[in-house]
C-alpha cells in the first residue's frame, strides 16, 4: 500500500450534455478521500451523482475536471481494464453464455493466469460466496440472490485493491437484502478490501458503512460516520434525507460559544440551550431540527423548560412503533414511540384530541442554517 487513501477524488467535475442540448454537471466539484480498508458509502437519491462518481473511479467515465487517484496514482484516462478496481454491477452483468465457473474465471483468464491456479482461485471464490457446486450452471438457472453472489465472486476473485458496488442489492427482496447487507459487511472485514458502495437506501448505508458521503445535486452534503450523519446532520438536507426530522423555523435570540436560544414564532416560545453548528450569528433565521423519536411525550405535569402543550391529531400503529402526530399552536410535530408494552389495551394508546405535553430536550435538537 503506497498511499493512505485507497481512492481519492480531487475536485472532480463531470459534465454531460442533456438531450435538450444543455450542459449539466452530474458531479460538481466533489472531493473525497477514501481510506484503505474502509467500507465507504455514497448515499443519495437518483441523479445525485453517486453512480457517476463510482463510474469515474472504475474508469467507465472520465472526469471533465479534477482527478481520480487510486492508491495515490493519478488515473487520467486509464481504461477500466488497467485499473486495480473491480465492480459489482447493479444488473449483475453476468455473461449469460458462460457457466458460473467461466464467469468467475473470466477475469483471471484475462490476466493469463495458469489453469490450475484459476481452478483453485475460482473454487475459493465460489466457496466464499457459498455457491460451492454451482459452477456448471448458467446464470439464468440461479435465483437473483445467487446471481448477485456470482457477480461478487467474479469481482473478488481478481483480488482488487478496491471493490466498487453499484446498488448491488437493489433487485433483492427486503429479507434477502438485510441478510446480504450483514454478509457483505462481514466479507469486507474478513478480506480487508476497501469497499465503495453506492446506494439510495439510507438504512443500508447506516447498517454497513464505516463512513458515508451524503450526496445531492452532484455535491457532497456531508461526509462522516453513520452516527455523525444521523446525530449531527450538517444541514437541513441531510437532516431531512437521513431519517425523519421535525423542522421548526425561528430566529436566534441569544448565542454563546456552544449553545443557542431560538425563538420559535409558531410556538410563541423560546427553545433554549441547544448545541449549534458553525457559522451562526445572532438574529439569524434558522431551523431547529429534532428527530421524532427524540421528542418526549409527557401526559401530565407542570410545564418545564422547553416543554409545550399540544394535542394529538392522529396516531398510526405500525407494529414496533407508534407514530403520534401532534399540534402545538398550529405547529405540527411528529413523535415516534416504541411499543415497549403491548398496545392491545386501548388505554395504553394515545387518542386523537388528547392533551399532551411535548418536551424538546436541548441536547437532542440541532440548530441548522436555513437554506
Amino acid at each position: 500500500m503506497t498511499s493512505e487513501f485507497a481512492v481519492e477524488m480531487r475536485d472532480v467535475v463531470k459534465r454531460f450534455i442533456t438531450p435538450e442540448g444543455n450542459e449539466m454537471a452530474a458531479v460538481d466539484h466533489v472531493t473525497m478521500k477514501i481510506r484503505n480498508g474502509e467500507f465507504f458509502s455514497m448515499l443519495g437519491s437518483s441523479g445525485c451523482g453517486k453512480t457517476t462518481s463510482l463510474r469515474m473511479i472504475a474508469g467507465f467515465e472520465w472526469p471533465t475536471e479534477g482527478e481520480v487517484y487510486i492508491e495515490g496514482k493519478a488515473m487520467g484516462h486509464t481504461p477500466p481494464f488497467q485499473r486495480k478496481v473491480n465492480t459489482v454491477f447493479q444488473s449483475y452483468a453476468l455473461f449469460q453464455h458462460l457457466t458460473i465457473y467461466q464467469n468467475v474465471a473470466f477475469g483471471l483468464e484475462m490476466e493469463n493466469a495458469k489453469e490450475d491456479e484459476i481452478k483453485k482461485r475460482v473454487g475459493r471464490a465460489l466457496d466464499m460466496v457459498q455457491l460451492t457446486g454451482m459452477d456448471r450452471r448458467k446464470p439464468k438457472q440461479l435465483s437473483g440472490g445467487q446471481q448477485q453472489r456470482v457477480a461478487l465472486a467474479r469481482a473478488l476473485v481478481k483480488t482488487p485493491d478496491v471493490l466498487l458496488l453499484d446498488e448491488p442489492l437493489g433487485a433483492l427482496d427486503l429479507k434477502l437484502r438485510k441478510e446480504m447487507q450483514l454478509e457483505l459487511k462481514a466479507l469486507q472485514q474478513q478480506l480487508g478490501i476497501t469497499f465503495i458502495y453506492v446506494t439510495h437506501d439510507q438504512e443500508e448505508a447506516l447498517t454497513m458503512s464505516d463512513r458515508i458521503a451524503v450526496m445531492s445535486k452532484g455535491k457532497v452534503q456531508q461526509m462522516g460516520t453513520p452516527v455523525e450523519v444521523y446525530e449531527r446532520p450538517a444541514n437541513k438536507f441531510v437532516a431531512d434525507f437521513i431519517g425523519e426530522s421535525n423542522f421548526l423555523e425561528g430566529k436566534i435570540k441569544s448565542l454563546t460559544r456552544k449553545e443557542a436560544s431560538v425563538f420559535i414564532p409558531g410556538l410563541n416560545a423560546e427553545v433554549t440551550g441547544m448545541p449549534i453548528s458553525e457559522g451562526l450569528a445572532k438574529g439569524e433565521e434558522v431551523v431547529v431540527s429534532i428527530r421524532p423519536e427524540k421528542v418526549r411525550l409527557v401526559e401530565k405535569g407542570a410545564l418545564k423548560m422547553n416543554m409545550f402543550r399540544g394535542k394529538v391529531t392522529n396516531t398510526v400503529y405500525i407494529g414496533a412503533d407508534t407514530h403520534i402526530y401532534t399540534e402545538v399552536h398550529g405547529v405540527k410535530l411528529k413523535v415516534l414511540e416504541q411499543n415497549r408494552i403491548s398496545r392491545l389495551d386501548p388505554k395504553s394508546f394515545y387518542t386523537v384530541g388528547q392533551d399532551v405535553s411535548l418536551l424538546l430536550m436541548p441536547e437532542n435538537t440541532l440548530v441548522l442554517k436555513k437554506d
Binding site: 467507465f60 477500466p80 454491477f89 444488473s91 452483468a93 453464455h97 473470466f106 469481482a155
Partner: protein, 307 residues
Amino acid sequence: MLKRLRENKSAQGTLLALPTIIWMMGLLIIPLILTAVVSVGKRSPDGNVIYAFSLDNYIRLIGYSTDCANGQASCFDPLYVSILGRSLSLAFNTTVLVILLAYPLAYFIARAQPKQRNSYLFLVLIPLWTNFVIRVYAWMILLRQEGVINIALGAIARFLHIPFQPLDMLYTPGAVLVGMVYEFLPFMILPIYTSLEKIDNSLYEAAADLGANAVKTFTRVTLPLSMPGVVAGTILVFIPVMGTFIVSDILGGRQVILVGNLIQRQFLDARDPTFGSAASLILMVMTLIVTYFYTRKFGFGEEIVVA
C-alpha cells in the same frame, strides 16, 4: 358445439393452424410428393412423364453414363456433380462474405444512438422495395464492358495516361458472387443487429472491468452473444442462395450454371421434368444436410437456451 370449443384449448389451436396446414399440404407436401414420383419416372420422347420406377435420373446426376464417346461400356461425366459443387461453394462463399460485410454494419447500427438506429435500419431495407430482378439488372449496367465501372476506370486511366482495356466483369463467377452478396446482405444485417442490440452495455463494461481489452471483449463476449443472429442470418442467406437461378442467369450468362439454372432449364428448355425433379430433390437433400449439421453445431439461432 361452440361452448365445447371454448373449453377445448387444443382444438382451438388446431383450428387456428388449419388455414396454414391446408396451405402447406396443398402447396408444399403434395407437390413435393409429386416431384418425388416424377423424379423416378421416365421421359417420353415428346417431353411427357411416363410413370415408372427407375433410378436413371439419379444415376445420370451422379455422372455415371452408358452413352460414351469412345465406345466404352460406361464412363464418368462430372458435369452435374460439378454444377452441384459450384452451387455449394458459391453459397458458402456468399454466406461468408455476407457475414463479413454485415457484421460490422450491424454492430455500428446497434451501438448508434437509439434515434438514429431506426433511420439506419430503414436505409438497409430501402433496396428491398425494388424488385429483385431489377436490382440484379442494375448490376449488369455497372459491370458490363461499356458499363459504369469500366467508364469510370477508363476516365481515370485517361487522366493518368495509362493504357486501359475494359475489364471483363460480367458473365464471370465473380459477378454472380457480387450479385448474390448484394441481394442477400439485408437478410444477414437484420438478425445480427437484433442479437447485438440485445447485449446490455453493462456487459461490455463488465468485460473491461475484469481486464478484457477491446479485442478480448469482442471475441469472448460480443461475438458469442451475437452468434444466434449470425446463425439465423446464415440460414436465411445460405438456403435461398443454393436454389436461386436469377442472379446467375443474368450476371453469369451461360458461363456460370448453378443447380437452380439446371433445374429451370430441364423444365423449360430441355423439357425433361423427370430429370428436373430429381435435381430438385437432390438440391433439397443437400441443403437439408448442410443445414442439419450447421444447426447441430450452432443451434437454430434462437435465444441462448438454458442447457
